[in-house]
Amino acid sequence: MRKLALLLLVGSLAVVAAGCGSKKESASGTTTAASSCAKDDLNLVTTDQLTVGTDNPAFPPWFGGTPHKPWQVSDPNSGQGYESAVAYAVAKELGFAKDEVTWKHVPFNNSFAPGPKSFDFDINQISFSPSRAKVVDFSDSYYDVNQSVVVNKGTPIASASSVAALKPYELGAQLGTTSYQFIQDTIKPSKKPSVFPQNAGAVQALKNKQIDGLVLDLPTAFYVTAVQVPNSKVLGQFAAEPGGEHFGMVFEKGNSLVKCVNTALAKLRSDGTLKQLQQQWLAKATGAPTLK
């Protein structure tokens, strides 16, 4: 027994020593803050490569092109679709050629997991919120988003024309979006809403009429009605809340790259590029009536 206790003690001391060791190691290896936004000074996951994360499948209108393995539905490498186009435009501003941009499959949940990130930034229709910004860094807005609701044509909810008229229905949202919060805070329905872990589940539930309406961002809503759920329509969009909701790219907390991406975004905004890309890829996502 004494020998065993001794062994336990020695073993545990070794663990402590290892723990301390690893701390020092990482302390010396912390990222050095880049002073300029010259390509060589950027803080990158892989040298000379801009590694951009997004989820798979990558859905239109955010991503376009024909899918190549491992990408499903569309291909971020295509440069088609709004988010892909914005990512390449930002990359160009930072000095990266098209072939120096690498796309990485980052499931939504991994984009904010603790620990070092596998991407320089993640662009995946992620809404900014103050509590999220405590954990990761967000770029400035690359798209100001409105929530909207998709319904099956000919169902009772399809004749609703105000936010209040949506109350009696069973609504759904996708996990990780701010749509659920919107349902709870603004619509306050009398039936318990549903939250689906995957787009596919949410869409299937709407098709099966297991939910009456699906709340999501307006551009995705138009894709759902056009491709995923036949005989559905965008019932309407909701007026933006004060301060608005916007999508931002997600960075590891404290990454100096944010500043440089924000500079690039500011330039793309002022020279009209962002607006032009929205015209090109999200033009359909306008003409929905506003529900009040």
Partner: protein
């Protein structure tokens, strides 16, 4: 029956709980306790030091152990947990019945019943072979998609059906083990007293069989209780889904700890009940052997 008792360990030893076994065997009471306390203390201290000194600890602490985060999420998750408990209790009843039918079918003797036996075996193989999450997703989205008159579209209903189908496979095997553990002479004796085959099963075999398998049955129900969280794939907001919603809106994981605490709060009493039943069963069998 006497021989069965002989193989059991000495009752004095059997009475001691597992946790304290090593300690008591150490012999000299106080000294053993002192050593156990000291080594536990050192062990816990070392683990705490090793974890809190690790490089990632500040981030992990913020992400997982933020008290404000956990306590904010808890009330909503506790409300959602009621659904898990309901599903668990309702499914349990149906599983006990369906599994018993399957087990009895499988233990029917004679060549006439071969098709029924084969079906029961096939069922147990399939039910235990297919991942529960797949069955729930297929039933929950697939069955309502058929749009058949009278087929329920409730996702909670189909999740319950999935859990009943899967767990009946496991529980049927537990029953079967119990039935096969009853010595054939029991049935022979019952039949020689003039009981029909069914009466022998109902009055002699099953009462003995079921009493023997109560601990493993409870074991499966602890598993079932946890698997109720799988309704989340269908978008239903149970404790796990509610925790996911929180986690995704704050990018922290405290909500998962709150959900885990609720599940553990139910499983621990069940586990202790199982231990107690096993101990009681053992005592009874030993008491029986003393008379024999």
């Amino acid at each position: 029956m006497a021989s069965e008792g002989d193989r059991r360990p000495d009752p004095e030893v059997a009475r001691r709980s597992r946790l304290l076994e090593g300690l008591r065997l150490e012999g000299e009471g106080a000294r053993g306790v002192a050593i156990a306390l000291l080594s536990s203390f050192v062990f816990v201290a070392v683990v705490i030091v090793a974890v809190t000194q690790s490089a990632g600890w500040p981030e992990v602490k913020r992400a997982f152990f933020d008290w404000g985060d956990i306590s904010n999420a808890f009330p909503d998750i506790a409300r959602a947990f009621v659904l898990n408990v309901k599903i668990f209790l309702v499914c349990e009843v149906f599983i006990l019945i369906l599994a018993l039918v399957i087990a009895v079918l499988r233990s029917l003797p004679g060549p006439v019943f071969f098709p029924l036996r084969a079906l029961a075996i096939l069922y147990a193989d399939l039910a235990r072979g297919v991942p529960t999450i797949l069955v729930i997703a297929l039933l929950g989205f697939g069955a309502p998609a058929l749009q058949l008159q009278g087929v329920p579209t409730s996702r909670v209903f189909w999740a319950g059906v999935g859990l009943i189908l899967i767990y009946s496979g496991y529980v049927a095997e537990v029953y079967r083990a119990g039935i096969e553990s009853v010595h054939p002479s029991q049935e022979a004796a019952a039949r020689s007293l003039g009981l029909s085959r069914f009466q022998a099963l109902r009055r002699v075999i099953l009462p003995q069989a079921i009493r023997r398998v109560i601990p493993p049955l409870l074991n499966d129900f602890i598993g079932l209780q946890k698997d109720t969280a799988l309704v989340a794939v269908l978008g239903v907001i149970d404790a796990f889904n509610q925790a996911q919603i929180y986690s995704n809106s704050t990018f922290t994981y405290g909500a998962y700890l709150a959900a885990a605490a609720l599940f553990v709060a139910i499983t621990i009493p069940l586990a202790r009940l199982t231990d107690w039943l096993i101990a009681r069963d053992r005592r009874r069998q030993q008491a029986g052997s003393a008379f024999a």
